[in-house]
């Protein structure tokens, strides 16, 4: 959109007015160019479209008899265990998403307003974004493990704890691991979003008598809501489908949906049930992303 207001772009568009009429491009000519798009389409078809179509189709086919059935969906939704797992997954994802955004926003604000600080810190705190989730898991073990973990040892040395806590292998351990992974992503995205908000707007509010905090809350924050929603959707869908961290940190409590799917697929050999449950989770995760996009398009384009 910005390019429309960029004078150099306007000049370029005028000078590079197509030598041949756009609509007049012949059928043969388009076919020539289309040929170059084919490899990309072939890869997407073979690696994405066909497998996904097969996944959805198989989830409606009975594994034993081969007849069409919706029983895998029905039995999933009727199963108390599945619904509880889904519930705890969503609860975990929602809680962590909210905590992540709240933790990341103030830091992102500071980074967005201080260029020097940002130039130095953003690359440093971005390092975990380019680590496999597995490495984040190892880091969490080193931090939180009951006897060898750095946190437990430090707390016991100071005397706050008399014996180690076992939070690593429970809800708090996973929540901390997810919050860490989520915060790292959210800080970077929200910094970018906040950078697009003109600081002069906030300054204007301050000169008109608002406090700095009030100006942030009533002027800057509302302008960032689309970006915040986008970041939340990303973090939420990341957690709902995360597999490595739940398994690395005790896959029993809380039982996450991805673990359930993996067990159905491999241990229990209930492949088609696993397919149906994968479809359910995907609809949930992608639904959040699409909802985020819809909100974005409603409130205007991403600033």
């Amino acid at each position: 959109m910005d390019r429309l207001y960029d004078p150099s772009y306007a000049v370029m568009t005028v000078s590079s007015a197509p030598a041949r009429p756009v609509e007049g491009a012949s059928w043969r000519e388009r076919l020539y160019y289309r040929a170059f798009v084919l490899p990309a389409l072939a890869v997407v078809a073979f690696v994405v479209l066909i497998p996904l179509a097969m996944l959805v189709a198989s989830s409606f086919v009975d594994q034993e008899t081969g007849s069409t059935t919706a029983r895998y969906y029905i039995s999933s939704f009727a199963s108390l265990f599945f619904m509880r797992t889904l519930g705890s997954t969503i609860a975990m994802a929602l809680g962590v998403t909210v905590a992540t955004i709240l933790l990341a926003l103030p830091l992102a604000y500071v980074l967005a307003r201080h260029t020097l600080l940002r130039g130095f810190l953003i690359p440093v705190i971005s390092v975990p974004r380019m680590l496999p989730f597995v490495v984040v898991g190892y880091a969490m073990v080193l931090l939180l493990a009951p006897y060898t973990g750095a946190l437990n040892k430090a707390l016991m040395e100071i005397g706050i704890l008399s014996e180690p806590t076992f939070i690593l292998f429970d809800w708090p351990g996973q929540a901390l691991a997810f919050s860490y992974a989520g915060t790292v992503v959210a800080v970077a995205i929200l910094t970018g979003v906040l950078m697009t908000v003109d600081p002069q707007l906030e300054d204007t509010a301050v000169t008109l008598g608002a406090g700095r905090l009030q100006a942030i809350l009533t002027v800057t924050l509302p302008l960032c809501i689309p970006g915040i929603i986008a970041a939340s959707a990303l973090v939420f869908s990341m957690i709902v489908t995360a597999y490595s961290i739940p398994v690395m940190l005790n896959s029993r409590t809380p039982y996450m949906i991805s673990v359930l799917i993996y067990n159905n697929l491999y241990s229990l050999q209930e492949r088609h049930l696993a397919y149906a449950q994968t479809v359910i989770v995907s609809v949930l995760a992608m639904g959040m992303l699409v909802a985020g996009q819809l909100v974005l398009s409603r409130f205007g384009r991403r600033p």
Partner: protein, 260 residues
């Protein structure tokens, strides 16, 4: 406020520092006190880990080259041919990003097992190529869109074919931008996990999957911590390169992050 910022930075960096510290302290626990510093954990890295890392580097390299090749051709066709299906293609190509990795992994397993592509270099290569296409196409479209078409048209008026003009005139102009794109794609492919977990096997084990199966089967091992530290060095090297070549601005607002 300053305290909050310092605390947040410390919290965000601490886990990574712990991995680095532990890797130099025998690998099983980390402390910043008086423990002796040693390279034992690094020496304990078994050949299987180096094999997995080498496999990951090879597959990331090949998939990056393949994805960029396909993406540049497609972007050229879409931009220069002014094809009306440009939006549709962009939407299709972005699918592997939008679909959760675990879903795509389960789906690929269903297709690849009958074809004999699971647990193979080719299968992993295809999966990573598809995953890289969206970013590659976005880079390539933006790069080609910024180059005036006259440059190629001049070559065509002098008798070159359109494709010759593309290869000899446009590609050299795009080369620096494509190199940066390749850097991003390469690191993304290096750290992919959930997509590959399902289609990996003894013949095709990326390092992230190897580290994962080891902690599940055998618990925390010193050599796994050392290998994690090596992955941290790779991430640090990546960000250093990005900051040096394109500047910090690119890191700040970008939503580019590991997939799965």
């Amino acid at each position: 406020m300053a305290f909050y910022v310092a605390a947040m930075i410390a919290i965000l960096i601490l886990p990574v520092l712990l991995v680095l510290a532990a890797s130099f302290q025998g690998g099983l626990e980390a402390s910043f006190g008086s423990r002796r510093w040693t390279l034992e954990a690094y020496r304990a890295i078994p050949p299987a880990y180096w094999d997995a890392l080498w496999f990951t580097v090879r597959i990331a390299f090949c998939s990056t080259v393949l994805a960029l090749l396909i993406a540049v051709l497609a972007a050229w066709g879409l931009v220069r041919g002014r094809l009306r299906e440009r939006r549709l293609v962009s939407h299709l190509v972005v699918l592997p990003d939008a679909v959760p990795s675990i879903t795509l992994g389960v789906a690929l397993l269903g297709l690849f097992i009958p074809l004999g592509l699971s647990n193979s270099f080719t299968g992993t290569l295809l999966a990573l190529t598809a995953l890289s296409l969206s970013m590659g196409l976005r880079f390539a479209e933006a790069l080609i869109g910024n180059v005036p078409e006259e440059m190629e048209q001049a070559a065509v008026t002098m008798g070159a074919g359109r494709f010759t003009a593309f290869v000899t005139v446009l590609l050299p102009v795009l080369a620096p931008g494509l190199t940066i794109a390749a850097l991003f794609l390469f690191v993304h492919n290096l750290v992919a996990f959930e997509l590959l977990l399902f289609i990996s096997g003894p013949n095709a084990t990326p390092i992230s999957v190897r580290l994962f199966t080891d902690i599940v089967d055998r618990g925390v091992l010193p050599q796994a911590i050392a290998m994690s530290a090596i992955l941290v060095y790779i991430a640090i090297a990546f960000y250093t390169l990005v900051v040096v070549t394109v500047g910090v601005r690119y890191v700040a607002g970008s939503a580019l992050t590991r997939k799965g």
